[in-house]
Each structure stands twice: as structure tokens, then as C-alpha cells.
Symmetry: C2
């Protein structure tokens, strides 16, 4: 174990280690091994101020000067998941399952097929040179075979890889969705997680804007299902072709297009002077920058038409999208906003993002058309569009609105033997009910009735089945309906 | 990109690179950039003999002498997922979902709660010194913050970590299950995958053997659900306490117990002389080894009782387990086999593994009691047991038996506009049906009817809804029931 691994403290109470006094971050802790209580150590450890390396004391992100202590490590494992990651204990898992179930149900309603890809991909799949945040925070490393690999930061490149692999064997269009974990690596502590789950829906093989309209429709359906309305959330919609048309006027190289988009995506996040500086640094003239910023401030299609003229694809795509939105029934959810470009280099056409109308949160989801992604991987281009929808911001929004559901555990039956000798009979009863599709929490130890009732309440059991000597001599068991308190005896073969 | 990354070839057809003649493994390929067809490159690449590093030409696992070619790499991405990993295109994903659904349904029937943990954990969580295969193949690496981390090889250590973290806040027993991806790293090519999914069920807080009996019952329920019978599959059951009692007779240190178990676990895999040598190398006498091997050959509890006497815990646990198996109704599935010890260091009591009776496959699943795992992480011990059930061997078994289900895509409706001008109406129709909970594949482009019927067949649509001019003028759409060929027109607001 390298000395820098100071965040891991293993305490082995059954080893009679003499643990030396040690200097741990800003605290000097004198510990003795005999009778040491791991819970006390734990609480001491958690009283330490959090540092980037979970206790390495270096400057944030600094690799130098590892603490020279922990020579003989305190043998207590860090009980927290790695920095920036989550455990899902049952209550969190129920919420995650509820969310994912809705992702999947909506995808099913839209006729999409589920796919998945490895969470670990070749690093090369994610390397693009546009200064994207997603690229800069790549969770990459060298594996034991000295290959450069990365925990995927997004799903789309893997999807593109699979589409190229499948080639002409799959009939287009493909309508695919995925719910997968994505990773990023940030050195700085910003309270942001290093992993999140993302719901993606993609349509491969449809050049028409009907595809984008369908995708936005599916997200709207999702929002409605979970209780979010058009007054909570909206979609800002634009097209990168708007930008392209402006850049063309100033003869700016197509190669710069991705970079310009990445710069503009930061328009609400960093000062406008920085944006201007960055745009100039990639070769745009003062005039071009000013005109571009003018265009980006446009919030109506009419105004856009005045400036760009009515001939370009940008305008016709957007007009068609707004027409379809009306037909799909989600007009009130969407608005044109030329400043929306999204932060991924590969978008080529319509782009959109879901935002909370109170303006408190980051984008809830985002997507767009990426007609030329496949050729960057050496495949033949196929028109495509898709979106990503993370599991973090939506939960924040539901909390904000006070409509985060409380999903509780529900087990239909709790079965309990009243006598240790009847444990086998209780097992038979449980099997009988489970064979009928009923869920059963079988009490596996001899416990007092008070304990059983408490457990029944905790698991929201509907029925308590008691296996007692008196009843069992008659081949019967006791049933108690827990909501009403109703009680009766029933022959085992009549138990439904 | 490091030169060792030779397995990744990116071909960017829109860049007019002059690609130099290059020496790639044993083949010399002369390539010209103009008009180059990526598919041809692909087929050339796939004609190369597979090597450990996907093309690095070094000795298997060798880190020295990276090929000095690929200075200006051919810009074609490897379309395969990383070595040892899988994509899940729709047909594979449906099978995976079917399998996982059964894992989850059985867990629900038994009243278990789902949990999950990060796929990436601190390496320290998995470090044990018993020579386990799982430990030697740890997929570990250093992250960008110089921490030693690992893609989890199994779920139990994370579960133990979470249980310690939760401490006394959770009422025991916990009945938790998880379905998670696990990773291993093998340098050698053995046609084995580097990732698989594993279903785990664990009971924490029950010292009685009822817990093991319940776990085996749940696996039997799973087998039955997917069409596997007791004549296909059985469980070999033993207890590590058998071994412990033998070792105690020969005064062998308890510290060696885990190591001895790991050696014995290989008894069917490597020659018996090797096993003997390994056992002697950890300090067992010739006599002890012989007696141990004698005991391990026992296949009946009566015989075991003759040798060990009737007093020990090993025998009483196993007798109780076989009694309960009868009560749960799965006696015909289980048999005593003293040679079963399982390959994880932390088991302490009953151990079991599911095997195919034809003896063609590796163990299907395995588990046991691990009452002292928590203290190895610095927590207070809590009696616990659990099992792991992978997604690989079971699929092989289902294939062997010819009962792997064909799970097909099913979309209820396909909706199609017969005229481009009616695309908006088709969108309205799709929305109406989806609002009623019906799944709809909306045809997003203007396609000939022949194409639409072909697609309808591919997605197993039940109904085709046609939006045509004549009908729409009457506010109606055409409906065709695809199974019967029945056709009719219906008012939009009467479409169910």
C-alpha cells in the first residue's frame, strides 16, 4: 500500500497491534490498541475536515509531499464509498429504481429498444480536441496491460461505435435507449459527484426534424409522469446551423466550429469578456464576435428570420420543430433561444436543453442532432440525434417542488413460527405462498411477537401468518390482516 | 496517444492525411489516403491473428518493446468493445433484462431489498492474503489522484463496508440483494470475460442455519422459474467447520485456515499431488494432509458423523440444513459433499455451490456463511451469509438444455402518415395512444407502405394505424390488426 493511500485506515480488532501515536492531518491522535472501539475511531476520523484526498493533507490536487505518517496504518477501513461515488442502501435504491422505471416505461411507450455498452472503454473513443468539459474530466487510466482506458463520461460514443460495428446488418432507423453510469474525474472539490446515471434515447437514421420532435416529446411524457409541469420546466431550443450560417459570413473555418460552440456554451457561466477573448483567440475578428453575440441573444424565430433570411436550413428546421411540437401537444414546453448550443463538440443541427423555470438548477437534460459523429470514428455517417438525461438534477428539482416520492418497501406477508420446533413448518408455509407469487418475509429466528409486529410495520406487511402449536395440530395457521386487525385461522391448503 | 496504443486505429475520412506505409504486426499494409474505404481497412484489421494486446505483437503480457510503428496511426477506431467486455445490442439486452427480471422477482418473493455500491472501490477493500483467484485477478489501477482503486471483483466487501457504515441505525436482520457488474483482470487469453454481472442475496444478522436454507430455497425458486429442474442442477453442500475440526486435531493455526480452504477449492482443477504439495507448503504434516483428503472425499452425513463424532457444530448445522431443505421442499436438489469449500477466504460455516449434473460447466453459483468478515474491516462482527450467481454459466446451461428463451421486441402500435403533410397528425395520434399507455413506433419519415409492413413485422406490432388523407378528412384513421388482417376505420377520439 503506497503511503499516499492515507485515506484507508484498517483497524483489525482481533490483531493485537500496538498502534503507534501518529500525526494525522492537523490532529495528533494517541491511540492504544487494547480495548479500542472502532466506532470511536470512526467518529474521530469523521471529525477531520474533509480534504481533496480524503485526508492526504496536501494542497488540493497536489501530488507532492505525501504525509509521512501512517507507516503502520490504523487498520480501520474507510466505510465511505470512494470520493464522489454513492452507495445505494435500500431507501436510495428504491428511489433510483422508481426513476429508472419511469425512464424505461417512457422509452417503451415510444417503441425504443434498450441497449448497453461497457462502462470501461478505450480512451481513444472519447478524445476530441474541442476543449469540452466532458473531455477534460475524463476518468482515464492505464490498465494492467498498459492500455489507455477510461470510465465512460457519456454513452453516445459507445453507441456510435456499436452502430458502426453492426454496419448494414441492422435496419434503420434504430431507436435505442440506455440507462448507464457515467464517470468524470475532477481534481477540485466542488461537491460534485464523480459518477451519475444517464438516460439516453437516440434515433439513428432519420434526417428529418421529426426525430428531434419525437425525442423532446418523450422527455415531456417523462416529466408529466413524475408530476413535473410546463410551469416547472421548459426546453430551450436552437440549431447549431444558426451559428454555422453566421460563421460562414465571416469565412471562419469549419474546423473551428466545434471549438466555437464549446466557448459559447459557457456564455451563462463565465463573464462575457472572457467569452469574447476566447472567441478572438480561435481567430474570430472583433466584428464577427460582436455579430455572433448579437445573433445569440435572439429569442424569437421571427427576429432570427429577419437577420438570417428565410432560406437557410436552420430556420426551416426550427419552424418545422415548433410546428410538430404543437401537433405532439407540447408547445407550451418549448421556446427558441439562440444562445443554446450545448457543450458537446459533435452536435451539428437542432440542440435543446431542459431547464427549470425558477433558474435555480443546472440543465436537467440536453441533446441534439449529431449527423457527422460516425465519420469521426471512421464509419460512414448516418443522420442521428439523441439526448442525455442525468439522475441528479431531476431529483434536486423534485425535492425543490416537494414531489419527490417516498417509495417504501412492501412485502405482502410476514411468516413466523411461534415455537422453534415449528421453524420447518413456517418454511413450508413461506414456500407455499411464494409458489403462489406472494412475497414473504420469513422470520428466520425465534423472536418474541413484539419484535415480529415491529418488523411487520417496518416492511409494510399486509398479513402476518403465525404458525403456532395449537393451530398447527389442526393443520391450520393464524392469519392477521395488519391494516384492519382482522384475525382468523385457515387450513394450510386454503391459504391464498 | 502513446505508441503502445496500437490497437486503436482511427480513420478520419474527412481529413486528407497521407497515411504512410506502415508495418503492422506480421503484415505490411500499403495504404493510400485518397478514396480509402474504411470497411476494407476494417476487414484487413480483422484478418490479423488476435494477440493479447489486440495488435501490440509483444509476448503475451509483455510490457517491453512496444511496436515502433503506428507513428501516424491509421485513423480507424476499434469497433469492438474493450477486450473481455461486452456490448449489449437490443437482442442481448432483452435476454439480460429477462435474466435480471427473474433475479429481482425471486428476491422480491423472498422479501429482500435491493442495494447497490460503486463499481469502483478502494483497492484496500479487496486485499486479502489467501491466494484467492479473485484477489490475484483484481482489476486495479491508480486514479488521477494517485489513489489505488479497483473495479470490484465481487459485491460482498462493499456490502460489508455499507453494513459497518450503517452501524446500529439499521434493524437486523438485513435481507439485501444486488445485481451488479464485477470485473477481473487476466493477462492471459483464455476466452474468459473480464466482466460479468452477479446476483447476490445476503442475510445479515441471523446466526441460525435457517438463513442458508432460505438462500438455497431462493436459488431453487429461480431455477424453477426459468425452467431448470433438479435433474439438471444440484447443490453440493458442506461446512468449513468440517475442515476446521480436522485442522484442530492436527493443531494447525487458525491463521492458515483461509489459505488451506483456497488450496482445497482447487481440488477438482489441478492434480492431487499439487494439492498435497501446496498443503504441505503451508505447514501441514503428511499425516494431516492424508486425513484431510480422506475427510474431503466423504459424501454422506452418516459417514461424516462416524469420523467427526456427533458433537460438533459442523454436523448439527448440516443436519439442520438438510431437515429444513425438506421443509422448504428442495431435498432432491441438495447433497452433502465434504470437498466443497468455495474459493473465497472469508467463509466460516456452511458453504454451497450449484452445479450442472452433466458436469460440463463451471459452478453456476456459490455461497456460504461469513460470520467474521466485518471484523476484518474493523467493524463488529455480525453473523451473515450470502451467495453470488453470475450471468454467464446459467446462460450456457440454458443453451445446453435448449431452453434459452427468445425474448422478442414487442411494440403495440406502429403509426404512419401516408402523406408527408400528415406527419403532424400522425404525431397527434401517437401522443393520444401513448397517453393511454400504449406503446407506439411512430414512422418519422415518409416511407412506402411495403417498408412500413416490413418494420411492423420486425417489431412485432399488433396494430398498424394509418393516417391517410381520405380518412383524415372525416376525422378518422385506418386501423389494421396485423395478426388477423382485420381492417377498419375509427374516429380519432374513439381510438383505444
Amino acid at each position: 500500500m503506497s503511503p499516499i493511500l492515507s485515506s484507508v485506515h484498517i483497524l483489525h480488532p482481533r490483531l493485537s497491534l500496538y498502534v503507534k501515536p501518529l500525526f494525522l492531518c492537523k490532529f495528533t491522535l494517541l491511540r492504544q490498541s487494547l480495548g479500542i472501539n472502532p466506532r470511536i475511531l470512526l467518529s474521530v476520523a469523521s471529525a477531520l475536515p474533509p480534504t481533496e484526498d480524503g485526508g492526504s493533507c496536501g494542497r488540493s490536487g497536489s501530488l507532492s509531499a505525501p504525509p509521512r505518517v501512517i507507516e503502520e496504518a490504523v487498520q480501520k477501513i474507510d466505510v465511505n464509498p470512494p470520493k464522489g461515488t454513492r452507495d445505494f442502501p435500500p431507501e436510495e435504491m428504491r428511489l433510483r429504481n422508481w426513476l429508472f422505471h419511469n425512464f424505461r416505461e417512457v422509452s417503451r411507450l415510444y417503441g425504443f429498444e434498450e441497449v448497453d455498452f461497457p462502462v470501461l472503454e478505450s480512451e481513444a473513443l472519447f478524445i476530441r480536441k474541442a476543449g469540452e468539459e466532458i473531455r477534460d474530466q475524463l476518468y482515464c487510466f492505464e490498465d494492467r496491460g498498459n492500455r489507455r482506458v477510461a470510465l465512460r463520461p457519456e454513452l453516445t460514443p459507445s453507441l456510435a461505435r456499436l452502430v458502426i460495428q453492426k454496419g448494414k446488418s441492422v435496419p434503420l432507423p434504430l431507436k435505442w435507449f440506455a440507462v448507464g453510469q457515467c464517470w468524470r474525474y475532477e481534481r477540485m472539490t466542488r461537491g460534485r459527484r464523480r459518477e451519475h446515471y444517464q438516460w439516453n434515447m437516440d434515433i439513428i437514421g432519420v434526417p428529418e426534424v421529426t426525430a428531434e420532435a419525437e425525442l423532446i416529446s418523450s422527455i415531456v411524457t417523462f416529466f408529466k409522469r413524475i408530476g413535473i409541469t410546463a410551469s416547472d420546466v421548459g426546453f430551450k431550443v436552437s440549431s447549431r446551423k444558426v451559428l454555422q450560417e453566421v460563421l460562414k459570413c465571416y469565412s471562419i473555418s469549419e474546423n473551428l466550429f466545434g471549438k466555437v460552440c464549446i466557448i459559447i456554451d459557457k456564455i451563462d457561466k463565465i463573464p462575457i469578456d472572457e467569452i469574447k477573448k476566447d472567441l478572438k483567440s480561435v481567430g474570430m475578428s472583433e466584428d464577427a464576435v460582436e455579430e455572433l453575440l448579437q445573433v445569440l441573444s435572439i429569442k424569437s424565430l421571427t427576429k432570427l428570420e429577419e437577420i438570417l433570411g428565410g432560406a437557410g436550413e436552420a430556420l426551416s428546421d426550427l419552424k418545422q420543430l415548433f410546428f410538430l411540437a404543437e401537433k405532439f401537444g407540447y408547445s407550451e414546453w418549448i421556446q427558441f433561444d439562440a444562445s443554446v448550443v450545448r457543450g458537446l463538440a459533435y452536435y451539428t443541427g437542432v440542440v435543446f436543453e431542459g431547464f427549470d423555470r425558477e433558474g435555480k438548477l443546472r440543465a436537467i437534460c440536453g441533446g441534439g442532432r449529431y449527423d457527422r459523429l460516425l465519420s469521426t470514428f471512421g464509419g460512414d455517417d448516418i443522420p442521428a440525434c439523441g439526448f442525455g438525461f442525468g439522475d441528479a438534477v431531476i431529483v434536486e428539482l423534485l425535492k425543490e417542488k416537494g414531489i419527490l416520492p417516498e417509495v417504501s418497501l412492501q412485502v405482502e406477508n410476514i411468516v413466523c413460527a411461534l415455537d422453534p420446533d415449528l421453524q420447518g413448518v413456517a418454511a413450508t408455509v413461506a414456500t407455499l405462498l411464494r409458489d403462489k407469487g406472494q412475497s414473504v418475509d420469513l422470520v428466520l429466528e425465534n423472536k418474541p411477537l413484539k419484535w415480529v409486529f415491529k418488523r411487520a410495520a417496518r416492511i409494510n406487511a399486509q398479513r402476518l401468518i403465525l404458525v403456532g402449536n395449537t393451530e398447527w395440530q389442526k393443520g391450520m395457521v393464524g392469519v392477521k390482516i395488519l391494516s384492519s386487525g382482522e384475525q382468523y385461522e385457515v387450513k394450510l391448503d386454503e391459504l391464498e
